[in-house]
């Protein structure tokens, strides 16, 4: 290996292991290509603003004089920004250092000499592949107005409008929908091209020698053919001979077919892709949320639970393999996906970080078999996630426990407990029920003691709860897992404790504000 080659390979390894370099590269990748990145959204908006201002200046200067500063901004500054963007995109499209390292390892393995030419070819191929893509060509053309002295190149500003496709997600969706009908559009295009070609030649042959006909050249024949087949029919160029009119009639019929076929293609492409587009949008929306409860199955109890969680500001995602139930969830304005909750694939598609974003999975199908299956699937996806499951038949309780459910929700037991309390203390039951159901303004609240609070409040008497007309029911010491009812004033308050209070919700808010601001 020659000196230059050795240095090149060393430099490639250096770049590949350089944290600074990789961080910078990742940063530019995120703002240019990573849809999940927050910065990309701001970058896209910034670029769209540049494009709109550039086109606005172009329109304005058609009939008016533009200030020099604006011209400089339009021709140089914007072009320069676009140029930098173009270079960055070429850079991040493929990694040169990786190609060099790969080639070095390959040569080492096979005991061959390092092939520098292969590396150049490979790098050139990769970069050229990007530079010849439609998006990159548009980017390059959008830089052209930099050479604004050439009047013709000013029109390239319009290419900047095409750059909008790159930044606006809806444009990308639009093109991807149309791309799904590539074959049909190609067939249609071929049909239209043949009709245009044949009719242009025919009309030229039949009309070009007729002095009264406006069609003199093949270009005019071609123009007439396109205007006619598109069913626009300006009427500035018309066929005058009976033969030409016959061709016109055929082209008109072909035109109706082309238009009808095109329209139906657009409609069918969007109809077929509509659900996919909506689904992708839901997945994207959900991926930005935190504190999500995933509800598997959307039946009676699940509906009520989802409604209550949403009311309290939590994020809810419903998964169900029944499209009917998913439609019902969507009608209730809940994020819902027609995914099978019993399939690992469903959770992979969600693009969620379970540990950070998901609070718990609720298996709320009114069917024990489905809940067991879902619980097992979820447990195989994440070992630590909290799973709560409805139990319908008591005999299946052990199966749910074995499948990894943390908490079992047995509605019959709940009803039994409610009945027990009601027959024992009906008035007390109603009072507690009213507080828990939040029908009145009185609420029961658990307030976590943070570091900040424990620094300023060290004992119960310092809480001053009576001043806020709040009843302090007790303190829950999480480390001891014990509830201290009605604690005396000197009881210590520590970080991690929870105080349980009852009072008017406005006073509780004030109390919380007071504690946080102390």
């Amino acid at each position: 290996m020659g000196f230059f080659t050795r240095k090149l390979v060393d430099f490639a390894y250096f770049l590949n292991s350089s944290v600074w370099y990789q961080r910078k590269r990742r940063f530019f990748y995120n703002i240019l290509e990573n849809d999940e990145s927050t910065y990309k959204k701001y970058f896209d908006i910034f670029m769209m603003m540049l494009i709109i201002s550039s086109v606005s200046i172009l329109i304005y200067e058609v009939k008016r004089d533009v200030h020099d500063a604006l011209n400089i901004f339009n021709s140089y500054i914007i072009s320069f920004i676009f140029f930098i963007e173009y270079v960055l995109r070429v850079w991040i499209h493929s990694s040169i250092s990786k190609v060099i390292i790969h080639q070095d390892e390959y040569s080492d393995l096979l005991g061959r000499d390092f092939n520098l030419l292969f590396v150049f070819k490979r790098v050139f191929h990769d970069k050229l592949e990007y530079m010849l893509s439609v998006k990159a060509i548009i980017d390059l053309l959008a830089i052209m107005p930099f050479f604004h002295e050439l009047r013709l190149l000013r029109i390239f500003i319009l290419f900047r409008v095409f750059k909008l496709f790159r930044y606006a997600k809806s444009f990308q969706t639009f093109s991807s929908v149309l791309a799904s009908k590539k074959f049909e559009f190609f067939t249609l295009g071929m049909f239209a091209a043949i009709v245009i070609f044949v009719s242009s030649v025919l009309i030229y042959v039949m009309e070009a020698n007729d002095p009264s006909s406006p069609i003199d050249t093949l270009y005019e024949a071609f123009y007439w053919s396109i205007v006619t087949i598109s069913t626009v029919g300006y009427g500035d160029v018309v066929a005058v001979s009976p033969e030409g009119q016959l061709v016109a009639m055929i082209v008109i019929f072909a035109g109706i077919a082309v238009i009808a076929f095109t329209t139906s293609l657009f409609v069918s492409a969007f109809t077929e892709k509509l659900e996919d587009i909506k689904e992708a949008k839901t997945v994207q929306d959900i991926s930005k949320l935190n504190m999500i409860y995933i509800i598997c199955g959307y039946e009676n109890i699940a509906k009520e639970v989802a409604k209550k969680l949403l009311k309290d500001g939590f994020s809810v995602l419903v998964l169900d393999n029944s499209s009917q139930r998913i439609e019902a969830a969507k009608e209730d304005n809940i994020h819902a996906l027609n995914y099978d909750p019993g399939s690992i694939q469903s959770y992979a598609k969600l693009n969620l970080n379970f540990k950070i974003q998901v609070k718990a999975i609720l298996c709320l199908r009114e069917n024990d078999v489905a809940n067991v299956y879902t619980a097992l699937t979820v447990r195989s996806v994440d070992k630590d996630i909290k799973i709560m499951s409805l139990l319908i038949n008591k005999r299946h309780k052990n199966k749910l426990i074995s499948s990894g459910v943390n908490e079992i929700l047995y509605d019959k037991e709940f009803v039994g407990l409610v009945a027990r309390e009601y027959v024992g203390q009906p008035v007390a039951f109603e009072a507690i029920h009213a507080i828990r159901s939040e029908y009145t303004n009185i609420r029961m609240h658990e307030l976590g003691i943070t570091d900040r609070i424990s620094k300023t409040v060290s004992t119960v008497s310092e809480l001053n709860s009576t001043k806020y007309r709040i009843l302090l029911l007790g303190i829950y010491k999480k480390d001891k897992q014990h509830f201290f009812f009605n604690p005396i004033g000197s009881t210590l308050i520590e970080t991690g404790d929870y105080i349980l209070v009852i009072g008017n919700h406005m006073f509780i808010k004030e109390f919380m504000k007071y504690l946080s601001s102390k």
């Binding site: 718990a360 507690i432 029911l473 009812f485």
Partner: protein, 230 residues
């Protein structure tokens, strides 16, 4: 009136769970099955069969219906409503607690004459969301309400108003003086007030008012004796 027996209509999981949870309260518990009873079926409770023919003489003769509480827990919602309606038409003063699938059926059951309706879906959903939203409160309340904890929540009717003379409920230091916490007061006109509401700063406690009190059994007993409560 001292209710000593419970009549549970509906030999299903709901009926069994209700029976299990109220055994400490009633000396006689009977579960009524609509139709034939499976002889091989094992139950810890007395099982009897009944039908919806509106002939309640057997029930009247064999059970002390005047001192009974009834649970309508049939699986079929329409049958449950029909049962509640026919029981109410025959037993005017009996307490009927009925199970409803949801709030819509709960209204129908109330119209049919149920004294109290437990909507299954809403109750279950409330408990689930409470467990998620306020796990600690739910745990504490669960132990106070349903488990054999020493901490209890009870209702006490005031019979000795003199001890509260010239003191508004909001101004009394219940915790310091009696070792209990009073959550709310139910007045004779059935209006209920939270202990720190504005009204409790202007109205004195009267005999017949019911206090909802939380505390340890020992303190509650003392307090009960003090205010002459029932």
């Amino acid at each position: 009136m001292n209710i000593t027996s419970a009549l549970i209509f509906g030999n299903n999981e709901y009926g069994q769970e209700i029976a299990k949870n109220i055994t400490h309260k009633y000396s006689h518990i009977t579960i009524f099955s609509l139709g034939e009873i499976n002889k091989e079926e094992h139950s810890d409770f007395n099982l009897e069969k009944f039908d919806l023919s509106d002939d309640w003489d057997a029930l009247r003769n064999e059970h002390d219906t005047k001192n009974s509480i009834v649970f309508s827990a049939l699986s079929d919602e329409s049958e449950n409503i029909f049962l509640t309606l026919s029981l109410r038409s025959v037993f005017k003063d009996i307490t009927i607690i009925a199970l409803a699938k949801n709030n819509e059926d709960a209204n129908k059951l109330k119209m049919a004459g149920a004294s109290k309706v437990i909507p299954i879906v809403e109750t279950t959903a409330n408990i689930i969301t409470d467990m998620l939203k306020k796990p600690i409160i739910t745990e504490v309340l669960h132990s106070i309400l349903y488990e054999d904890s020493k901490l209890k929540i009870i209702q006490i009717e005031v019979a000795n108003e003199e001890i509260f003379t010239n003191q508004y409920p909001a101004d009394i230091d219940w915790s310091d003086k009696y070792g209990v916490l009073v959550l709310s007061i139910l007045h004779e006109d059935e209006s209920s007030e939270f202990i720190y509401s504005s009204k409790t700063k202007h109205n004195y406690i009267k005999n017949g008012d019911i206090l909802i009190v939380v505390g340890y059994e020992k303190d509650l007993d003392k307090f009960k004796k003090l205010i002459g409560g029932k």
